[in-house]
């Protein structure tokens, strides 16, 4: 136990402020995100992540948003196990044919008003997998999308920026 406490104190708080953003569309993110979430979502934005066919690359970066360095919970963002509790679906793609129905069902049971954020180049247009018998391409070919976050995979910072863009409307 003492070792654990010692390691915790030795590590300290490693969470970093979100650096200034290159994208001129979004000027401030950290405090602004927190502010918007406070105002619109009663301090808590609940996200249901759906892998609709991704290669698992985007999932790695979504995981990284939860690591102590990005610590997305400080802005009131947390991930839920059920779409029924979610304000937002964070969907990675391309949408595979075999996931199309599951994605639609997940969308249908998410209570309105709901936001959909499509993650990655594949979530936008199908990426290198394109459109085929097995891949339907971008997320918006199956459900309505509010914001696209480009990247292969998008970095945790890009993900936070995209989420802010979506909640600001």
């Amino acid at each position: 136990m003492f070792r654990i406490l010692h390691q915790i104190f030795r590590t300290g708080i490693v969470t970093e402020p979100i650096p200034p953003i290159a994208d001129p569309e979004i000027e401030k993110i950290g405090s602004q995100l927190e502010e918007t979430i406070r105002r619109r979502f009663q301090k808590s934005l609940t996200i249901r992540q759906v892998d609709a066919g991704s290669c698992n690359g985007c999932e790695l970066e979504i995981h990284a948003m939860n690591n102590p360095i990005y610590n997305c919970e400080r802005f009131g963002i947390h991930f839920t196990a059920s779409p029924r509790f979610a304000d937002m679906l964070l969907v990675t793609g391309p949408v595979s044919r075999n996931m199309e129905i599951a994605l639609k069902r997940t969308y249908d049971v998410t209570p309105a008003p709901k936001l959909v954020v499509a993650v990655g180049d594949c979530g936008r247009c199908g990426g290198i997998f394109g459109k085929s018998y097995a891949s339907l391409g971008g997320i918006d070919s199956v459900i309505p999308v509010d914001v696209f976050i480009p990247g292969c995979p998008p970095t945790p910072i890009a993900l936070l920026q995209g989420i802010l863009k979506a909640v600001e409307g």
Binding site: S54, E59, L136
Partner: protein, 523 residues
């Protein structure tokens, strides 16, 4: 002639075993009559060989029907056995009763290529879901991949368990966590799992078919996205297979840089897995500590090589990026820092009785079962099987690096965690050795033009285990077929076997300890 070929010649007679003329620089292929396909498997099994992969090809562009291939491994040797199925009789003798690993390979061949394994005990489709038209075989040349598939009525026959008090838990495809989709069906009584059956294929993106539409260079990018967490491993196996088609020798420096990327990927993923395993038994402290170390490594990747996961840093003919003097020092310092940090964490892990209590004897995959199922990679090494391509089938520079392979025999979650811990330490040592040895010179060479009807093959030890690629060029020197075998395609069978007798709430931690790829399996 190789040992495995000798065994075949002795068993089947010389006139039935032909060198197929399809030798790549990495593996030999023998052609046998279709009727001896299963017998060859039986003889090779008797000699201790394991089935590593099985697939089919549409060779109608060469006007020779369909090819059926089985790749066997024994010690450091791979042997590919080929037979033909004529267009008017698309079938071959099943190997499933001899090799459990063939169970899903053959269902996949039947589902996606429409070549039927005769004598296979399970005729349900695999990857191809029940709502696909029955006659949709996407890997055939006559199939138009650009058209969407209509949906038809259909039902999947699950294995059922009946009896008083037996209940069923369906899970997925959309899981509770941030993970890939798949469907698991548990039959349980009280808390004890009686049976688990996985249904995968949800992330089938038509990758193998897609390869056939891409150029050799573009295909390297696709290989890097077969399974995003193994981007270096897959890309490296693909490019090595391509290089083996032409005997292309890449510069020494590129070989060592590739190994550097591969080991960095191994460390990053193992750190993530250790954290996730601990988090599943409520030891969140370890998750946050490990994910901090992982994040710092990813940032170094970004700073030195321009991508956090090193996607597209390996290219046909070499590597995309080089390492300069300052970068060299950065990695060296990082390894010193990582080793110190990690050892501190391991000491805490070791001293934590409550974690050990949950992980020890949970999800045991016995050595016998692991052997029967043909497990590969760290799952095999956690169940007492010493298997690692870096040692058994070393590609450069691993022929110069002596890799210490940790093996644990318990086969439980604890063993799988410990193998990861020891592999992280070993990879740190290997990275230091790479830095010490790193030859100077160029990092790319030109890939020679690829001739028609050539074969490429490569085996690489990714962080999950042995990755195999087998590539065939078509009449115009394009990609005719690219077979991808992620370690998960075999190891998924192990997860279903290790869960028997465990309680339902322990499934997540068993699953994390395997951490299979869905995308690499579904393709």
């Amino acid at each position: 002639m190789s040992t495995l070929t000798n065994i075949l010649v002795t068993a089947l007679g010389e006139k039935w075993v032909q060198e197929s003329g399809e030798d790549s620089f990495a593996v030999s292929t023998v052609l046998i009559p279709r009727s001896s396909f299963a017998e060859a498997g039986r003889q090779l099994k008797k000699a201790g060989a394991v089935l590593a992969a099985e697939w089919a090809t549409d060779e109608t562009p060469f006007e020779r029907g369909f090819g059926v291939y089985a790749c066997y491994r024994k010690d450091s040797e791979y042997l590919i056995i080929k037979t033909f199925a004529p267009v008017n009789d698309l079938s071959f003798p099943s190997l499933t009763k001899k090799f459990a690993a063939a169970y899903r390979f053959e269902r996949q061949i039947a589902s996606l290529m429409g070549v039927i394994p005769t004598g296979h005990p399970d005729t349900r489709p695999w990857i191809k879901h029940e709502d696909w038209p029955k006659d949709a075989w996407p890997l055939r040349k006559s199939f138009d991949a650009s058209k969407p598939l209509p949906r038809v009525e259909g039902d999947y026959r699950w294995i059922t368990v009946t009896g008083e008090g037996v209940y069923e838990v369906p899970v997925g495809p959309v899981h509770a966590g941030i993970i890939e989709p798949g469907h698991f069906r548990f039959q349980a009584m009280g808390e004890d799992v009686i049976n688990l059956e996985a249904k995968l294929g949800y992330v089938h993106k038509g990758i193998e078919k897609r390869f056939e539409a891409l150029s050799w260079e573009e295909a390297a990018r696709l290989a890097g996205r077969v399974s995003g967490d193994t981007t270096v491993g897959h890309c490296l196996t693909y490019v090595q297979a391509v290089e083996s088609m032409t005997g292309c020798r890449i510069p020494k420096r590129a070989q060592w840089l590739r190994a550097l990327f591969l080991e960095r990927e191994r460390i990053a993923n193992h750190l993530g897995d250790l954290g996730a395993i601990c988090n599943d038994v409520a030891f969140a402290f370890f998750l946050y500590q490990c994910s901090r170390l992982k994040e710092i490594m990813l940032r170094t990747n970004m700073q030195l090589f321009g991508h956090r996961y090193l996607m597209d840093r390996v290219i046909p003919g070499g590597t995309l990026v080089d390492l300069n003097e300052a970068g060299w020092q950065t990695i060296l310092n990082e390894m010193d820092w990582l080793e110190k940090e990690f050892e501190g964490l391991v000491a805490i892990y070791e001293a934590n009785g409550s974690v050990e209590d949950r992980l020890r004897t949970t999800g045991i995959l016995s050595t016998e079962k692991a052997r029967d199922l043909g497990m590969v990679g760290l799952i095999a090494r956690s169940s007492g099987i010493q298997l690692d391509c870096r040692v058994q089938h070393p590609f450069p520079p691993y022929d110069k690096i002596k890799v210490h392979v940790p093996v644990h025999t318990a086969g439980d979650v604890q063993a799988r965690a410990w193998v990861r811990i020891e592999e992280i330490k070993e990879s740190i040592r290997i990275i230091r050795e790479i830095l010490k040895t790193l030859p100077s010179g160029k990092i790319t060479t030109t890939l020679p033009r690829i001739e028609p009807d050539k074969i490429g093959f490569a085996a690489v030890e990714g962080w999950r285990g042995e990755i195999l690629y087998w590539i065939q060029s078509g009449p115009q020197g394009e990609i005719n077929r690219c077979m991808v075998r992620d370690p998960s395609s075999i190891n998924w069978l192990g997860l279903e076997q290790c869960i028997h007798g465990n309680i339902v709430p322990d499934f997540p931690v068993c699953n994390k300890s395997f951490n299979q790829s869905y995308s690499g399996n579904d393709l």
